[in-house]
């Protein structure tokens, strides 16, 4: 039996005539210790899928099974890293992490909790900024806090919802490595949702494309057979990498074209040029 299993999951928003089926017939199984990436276009229902797995949403029909038991609400066993960091702006880095740790280990003493907080803040190398508030941090640092917060609860599975989507390419690369490092230490099960195929290939064992919604469903999976630890620069020359990458992109492009051909109406864009603000006052 798989660690996480989704069987014939459907998710519909709204009711009656206004119902839109966002996800249909999702089947997914993740083994313990596996790193799986789900790749999809924006608006294809990725966040809905994540929320079904972490327990923020309930499926309209079908089962979401975690360790063989149906998911009922959120759980400390599944840590979540949100796309928009979701740090509480009125708390410092330390307080943000502490709040999570305190909830996860209610029986531990305050000094033990503080040790855990310090350990994980150190792990994401934010110790110098531990007393800062989120607004004083850069985007990358904020996401690190979010990573620390999720991991400090010592979840058995990490669910990442486009965690690096809003970051610049350099920070992105660094954080990918950091997450992989931390993941490599105790090999927790991980699910990464992303819109970046390269990121998926670099980080995951398996990539599953999500066909765009409405009625989004999972496409065929692609296994990534590249030795860990992976090296970004070397990977670009790796034949396996190139093939997988091309296959996935081709698959996604085909879906895109398919969708385009289904659209009956064609919209003509108006012929507009932006106003020239620079020369206006000369």
């Amino acid at each position: 039996m798989a660690y996480l299993e989704l069987n014939n999951v459907y998710k519909t928003y709204g009711q009656g005539d206004y119902a839109t089926e966002v996800l249909s017939n999702i089947n997914l199984s993740i083994e313990e210790g596996e790193f799986v990436a789900i790749v999809g276009f924006t608006g294809s229902g990725k966040t809905t899928l994540v929320n079904l797995i972490n327990g923020l949403l309930e499926p309209t029909s079908g089962d979401v099974l975690f360790k063989g038991k149906p998911v009922m609400g959120t759980s400390h066993e599944r840590g979540v890293i949100f796309q928009n960091y979701s740090l509480l702006p009125w708390l410092t880095v330390e307080q943000n992490v502490f709040m999570a740790v305190k909830e996860a280990f209610p029986k531990k003493s305050k000094s033990e909790l503080n040790d855990i907080v310090a350990e994980y803040v150190e792990m994401v190398s934010l110790t110098p900024a531990i007393n800062k508030r989120p607004k004083e941090l850069s985007g990358g640092m904020r996401q690190r806090v979010s990573v620390a917060r999720a991991l400090a609860m010592k979840p058995e599975m990490i669910i990442m919802d486009e965690p690096l989507g809003a970051l610049d390419a350099l920070t992105r690369g660094n954080l990918q490595d950091e997450i992989l490092n931390i993941w490599g230490k105790d090999k927790r099960t991980a699910l990464l949702i992303t819109n970046d195929v390269d990121e998926g290939i670099y980080m995951a064992d398996r990539i599953i494309p999500l066909r765009p919604g409405p009625n989004a469903t999972l496409g065929p999976e692609f296994k990534i057979d590249i030795e860990r630890p992976r090296d970004k620069t070397e990977m670009n020359d790796n034949l396996n990498f190139k093939e997988t990458r091309n296959a996935i992109i081709e698959y996604l492009m085909d879906i895109g074209n398919e969708r385009k051909s289904q659209a009956m109406e064609e919209f003509v864009l108006p012929d507009l040029t932006p106003k020239d603000f620079v020369n206006q006052f000369k």
Binding site: G55, S75, G79, N84, S86, L88, P89, W90, M99
Partner: protein
């Protein structure tokens, strides 16, 4: 890193940033950009104040002339030319017995202000003397279990200001204690929201006067056995009930519109209901709650005058009413003094709330 607290930061924090340009002016650190700021923030407002006083002066003078001419004409038709001539001379001489009663000029208002202050000094000296005289006797009375003798003389203008402030803060506190918890409950529960909505919609627009009458009806019966003066109780409860709506509505809105991300965090961390409210919902709705409290305080201060007037509770409202009834020749000027004092105190209360708000809530624009 510890941030140092400087005068400039404090004034900026209180929304009085223009004061720091003053400091720069005297310390000679003013640069061109600062000079422009200085012009905009200090010189221009000063000029507009002067313009206001000038217009006021001219307006008051022309009203004075109209009133004087009317009086003389009336004397002419009623009593003949001699009486009219006598009145004209009397008005011109500045005799207080025959001055036209109209909008006072700025200088008259200033004089009244000074005389009110002097009056306060006299009364407080009187009070101090009284306290000294009765100190020994009061000690004995307290020792015997009797009530001490208290000063029952006329309150001065400054005493009345403090009395008004007491009333307004008591009312504000009442509004805070009712509206914030109630607003939180309403915001958290859609059921409560729909059951309270009609209540809020109907009672929100009720006029202060009607609130006063309602409170009067209830408090009068509740305190039927008491011999104490209930006017203070009645007026602060009315002030509280009139002004609490802004806080109630804002709190409910703030609590029900907490960013969905924060709620998701609370769910993922599995915070308990108590923790969720105090760690997530309340901090995130603090800016809106404070906006409500700020409106509440200014509304409280505004309705206070009307309610004191009705309740005959000592304070600025009663002062204004008594001066109006009094009809002495400096009464109008005293009313204008009271008007300015009310305005300035209202402004200061608003700044006070802004300062507290800045101190306790995070900056919403920098959120996430």
């Amino acid at each position: 890193m510890k941030q140092s607290i400087t005068l400039g930061k404090v004034t900026k924090f209180m929304g009085l940033g223009f004061l720091s340009t003053f400091k720069d002016l005297f310390t000679g650190k003013l640069e061109k950009e600062d000079f422009k700021n200085f012009l905009r923030k200090v010189v221009v407002p000063m000029a507009s104040i002067l313009l206001f006083i000038g217009l006021w002066f001219l307006g008051a003078r022309s009203l004075y002339n109209v009133e004087a001419e009317y009086k003389i004409q009336k004397a002419l038709t009623d009593q003949g030319p001699e009486a009219a001539e006598a009145l004209r001379a009397c008005i011109a001489s500045g005799d207080t017995s025959c001055q036209p009663n109209t909008l006072p000029s700025p200088s008259q208002v200033w004089d009244s202000y000074m005389s009110l202050l002097k009056d306060h000094q006299i009364i407080s000296a009187d009070k101090a003397a009284f306290a000294e005289k009765t100190a020994a006797l009061n000690e004995k009375r307290i020792a015997n279990g009797e009530n001490p003798i208290t000063y029952t003389g006329r309150p001065s203008f400054v005493d009345q200001i403090f009395r008004s402030l007491q009333t307004v803060f008591a009312g504000f506190l009442l509004a805070l204690l009712i509206a914030v918890p109630l607003g939180i409950f309403i915001g958290l529960s859609p059921t409560l929201k729909s059951s309270f909505n009609w209540f809020i919609q109907i009672f929100k627009p009720v006029s202060p006067v009607v609130w006063y009458l309602l409170v009067f009806m209830i408090v009068k019966t509740l305190l039927i056995d008491s011999n104490e003066d209930s006017s203070f109780t009645i007026s602060f409860i009315s002030v509280g009930l009139c002004s609490m709506w802004a806080t109630l509505v804002n709190t409910a809105m703030g609590v029900s519109s907490v960013d969905k991300d924060y709620i998701n965090v609370a769910k993922v961390l599995k915070l308990g209901p108590f923790q969720k409210v105090f760690k997530v919902v309340l901090p995130s709705s603090l800016p809106l709650i404070f906006t409500g409290l700020k409106i509440t305080l200014s509304v409280a201060w505004m309705v206070l005058i009307a309610i004191e007037l009705l309740a005959q509770s000592p304070g600025l409202g009663l002062f204004v009413w008594e001066e109006f009834q009094n009809g002495a020749n400096d009464s109008n000027a005293k009313i204008i003094v009271a008007m300015f004092v009310i305005g300035v105190i209202g402004f200061l209360l608003d700044r006070l709330m802004l300062t507290i708000q800045n101190a306790v809530s995070f900056d919403k624009t920098d959120a996430i």
